[in-house]
Amino acid sequence: MQPARTLRDAYNAADPAVPLPSGDPRYVDCTDVRGERDVVQQMLKTITWSASNTAQLLTGHRGCGKSTELLRLKARLEEAGYAVIYFEADEDLDVNDIIYSDLLLGMARRIESQLRQEHDIALDPKLLENVQHWFAEVLYTEDGWRQVQRELEAEATLGVGLPEGVPILARLLARVTGQIKTGHDVREEIRRKLDPQISLLIENVNLLILRATERLRRQGRRGLVLLIDNLDRITLRQLDTGRTSHEALYVDHGEQLRALACHVVYTVPISMVYSPMATQLKAVFPHCAVVPMVKVARPEGGGYAEGLARLQEMLARRIDLDALFTGEAVEHLCRTCGGHPRDLMRLVTYACIHAPAERWPRPIDLQVARRAEAELVEEYSRLIPEAHYPKLARVHLRHVVENDADHQLMLYNLSVLEYLNGPPPWHDVHPAVRCLPKFEEALKRERAEMGLA
């Protein structure tokens, strides 16, 4: 792919809505400028060096490149001889209303279908039938199951939905997860019936996994890894139990999520890691990898040239910078994005929209870059509730976040970003937010209170 040389091509090359697939030539390794640790390396080691199965969490800001890193991990694991099942939780499940048994069911379905389709492993029909019987017994009455079975068999003969020759269990799992996803009336019923049987559900799923692993080993593979992306998109809701939807899934039912007989990586919202339940979460999932922002500044002040250079490289893989940007414009945009790749792409998009088309070369100069920045600043002002400003000022001065709801929201809406220079991580306010007059006022007050000039 040639780097874009026109404003139009640059505008399309900087789409904020498209993650990079693994192996894409536009990928820039930002490991060293994100922090000392490579999250992919870290997660890979946890899996390859462990004698037993592991369950890890991956977190990071919205748009920081989590999916890109997860796809890289997939490629590395495959190189290392693992069979990998990667899927996006929101494709199969209703992330607006999800509980742990939904997730386990969704995983069971993916394990069966992707092994069959991508790894060409058809599991022993006897085993599939046993598992299918178990599901039938738990979920249906005898008459009900006969009806469902007839429908599934009819589907199979008509070739509806899944292709021919697919085991009935696959059809059953597709049906049940489909009903759960679409919020079908029977969703609650399925959940109610599965809840007391959860350890048996896990046992049955593990039967599938163990048999599959045996087969994989015979093919020379080292094992099975499940990567579950977009699970961090589950809606944050207050439940009747007093817990949030995030706490209920990751903390209250963390043990169940850990109980599968293979390696698993779950994505988790960054705000969960800074919630009042952070300690409990850590107890259940000791391995939590964070994809931090690319550093564009140092906590003690001053720019971080290597980070800025890497962001510039990210752009250069997409766009012919010399043709379209002045040097100071590029640098300004890289600083303003706070090391957040998606905001960088967005700033470039805005710059392309506002660049004077008649000027050539380098239509995007500092003035255009400032205009793009002003738009991003305006957008952040919409996101921030009045009450956050004093707290944002404190984060900026102290570089730490507290484990409370407001700070959770700041991390969630990207007004506060996380950086890493070796542990522990440090935090700062998004540069666009720092331009807001309300932030400046709050900062002045906070400085005065601290006795600073």
Partner: protein, 536 residues
């Protein structure tokens, strides 16, 4: 573009908007074929949105991009299906489209949409999205053939400010990947508050934006919208159907946002108070008393700041009405008293008459018929002097109720009849419904149950159209008593329960207690626990 002559006012706001509009046109025009681009446009007033979209269409014409406008009427939760349905014209056989053509071909110029989008019709894999299918089919973008852009209007109805969790927001946030299927620029027009909610409550969707285009209010457009909705005669507004009232409320809210942006000059302030006043009245008519109180309070604050004493008196009167409807009679009396004092000082006869009427209602509620009659008479005299026909009808209605309560049915019928005639002449549907209900009660009192039922039904139908929840509850409760009198106890209890549900939500403690009594009595009667119990 430069040779086109816009009929566009030459004001700073208009010039700024034109510049923003050009940026929006560029953001659409630069999009590669088949690419989904999310563009958000902030504009408060629908009339202005229409004008801007029209200009946008003209700007896109020379770029050969067709702007397809979609007006979403009413609340939607699944916008994508709505857009797909809009993009699917009549059935044409599905042809495998040259789906992933990389670049637009300049020679290919607009044909009818359906000709350029054969993949949009029935039978396309897009139409039968199978969530349960594990094998992902390659997605065919909707606008496989450029160039097309979608411009979506009317979304404010899906972001009602009083809805804590609009389903559309959850849908957008979780379903954002699916929107990529549209494969073309998507412009969502939203009023200011809706855009803020989108940013905060659908952060994943918001994260995909490629531009936010904020249009500033243009005073000349706001003015014309203002004349249409804020200064409509009271009677016309209160006679609107429930749905029209909701829509009106939304328009007023958007208009209010415009005037808030237009600044804090006395004229803009005054307009804001008027808009709030109108909103308060609509909330009150719809039985949303707290929202009504909130709007009147804000209006009162502005009127006080402006030193508009007549406005203050009027607003205090309205606040009194809300308190009265909520059953807080002491507070209502206090507010009416304050309003009356100012009206007297200013010599505002109309205000005086209105408040006297309300004080009469308070006296009547306490059973002080002599005082009530005196106050009504005083109010009536002023109204007759001023030729305030709507007011006359209302007071005659109240006098009719007094006569009825005292058993003078002939007099009551005469007064109701007179009130009814005026309401009909004025097209005052709310007044009509109220008086029909009273006539029904009169018929019931005189044992003509068939006539009573007919009148209640007529009253009920009108109230339902108007969205008058308080009125609906009263008529349901009354119908229940009619059923009881006819011996249909189960039906009576059922109607009472329906009325109770509404009455509880309206929150007047006296009414709640009364309907609970009615319910308990009917339940006991049904169980035969207290046979032959007295009835109210």
């Amino acid at each position: 573009m430069s040779e086109r002559k816009w009929d566009w006012p030459d004001t700073p706001a208009a010039r700024q908007n034109l510049e923003t509009l050009s940026a929006l046109a560029r953001a659409i025009g630069m999009a590669a074929a088949g690419r989904f681009v999310l563009l958000l446009a902030k504009c408060n007033v629908p009339a202005q949105q229409e004008v801007l979209a029209e200009q946008l269409r003209a700007m896109l014409e020379p770029l050969d991009v067709e702007l397809v406008e979609v007006d979403v009427a009413g609340a939607v939760s699944d916008l994508l299906s709505h857009l797909k349905a809009h993009l699917e014209p009549s059935g044409r056989p599905h042809e495998p489209a040259e789906a992933h053509r990389p670049e637009p071909v300049e020679a290919h110029r607009p044909e009818p949409v359906e000709a350029r989008h054969p993949e949009l019709v029935e039978g396309s894999p897009l139409v039968q999205l199978q969530p349960a299918t594990a094998v992902a089919e390659p997605r065919v973008p909707y606008s496989a053939y450029p160039p097309l852009a979608l411009s979506v209007h009317g979304l404010a109805a899906s972001f009602r400010s009083d809805d804590p969790h609009p389903p559309l927001l959850a849908h957008l946030n979780l379903g954002r990947e699916c929107y990529r299927e549209l494969g073309c620029p998507l412009v969502l027009w939203l009023p200011d508050y809706a855009l803020t909610r989108l940013a905060r409550e659908a952060p994943d969707f918001w994260a995909w934006r490629s531009g936010v285009f904020e249009f500033v209010p243009q005073p000349e457009m706001a003015e014309s919208a203002l004349r249409q909705v804020a200064y409509e005669p009271e009677l016309v507004t209160s006679s609107l159907d429930a749905a029209a009232k909701r829509e009106r409320l939304m328009l007023l809210e958007q208009l209010l946002a415009d005037y808030r942006e237009l600044g804090a000059g006395p004229r803009e302030q005054d307009v804001q108070a008027d808009i709030l006043w109108k909103m308060g009245g609509l909330h009150q008519d719809l039985g949303e008393y707290e929202a009504g109180r909130q709007a009147y309070r804000e209006a009162l604050e502005i009127k006080q700041q402006l030193g508009d004493r007549a406005g203050v008196a009027q607003t205090l009167h309205q606040l009194g009405n809300v308190a009265y409807l909520q059953g807080d009679y002491a507070e209502a009396r206090r507010l009416y008293g304050e309003s009356l004092d100012i009206a007297q000082q200013l010599g505002n006869r109309a205000g005086l008459a209105a408040t006297l009427h309300q004080l009469g209602m308070l006296a009547q509620g306490q059973g002080d018929y002599v005082e009530a009659r005196r106050l009504y008479q005083e109010s009536l005299d002023i109204k007759q002097e001023m030729g305030d026909h709507a007011g006359i009808a209302a007071t005659l209605h109240q006098l009719g109720m007094l006569a009825q309560a005292q058993g003078d049915y002939a007099e009551a019928r005469r007064l109701y009849g007179e009130s009814l005639d005026i309401a009909q002449q004025l097209g005052n549907r709310a007044g009509l419904a109220t008086t029909l209900h009273q006539l029904g009660m009169l018929a019931q009192d005189q044992g003509d149950y068939a006539e009573a039922r007919r009148l209640y039904q007529e009253s009920f139908d009108i109230k339902q159209q108007l969205g008058d929840r308080a009125g609906i509850a009263i008529t349901l409760a009354q119908l229940a008593l009619l059923e009881e009198a006819e011996g249909n106890l189960e039906r009576a209890l059922d109607l009472t329960r329906q009325a109770q549900e509404i009455i509880v939500s309206l929150g007047n403690p006296e009414h709640i207690a009364r309907i609970q009594q009615q319910r308990t009595r009917l339940e006991e009667k049904l169980q035969g626990a207290t046979p032959g119990d007295h009835h109210g």
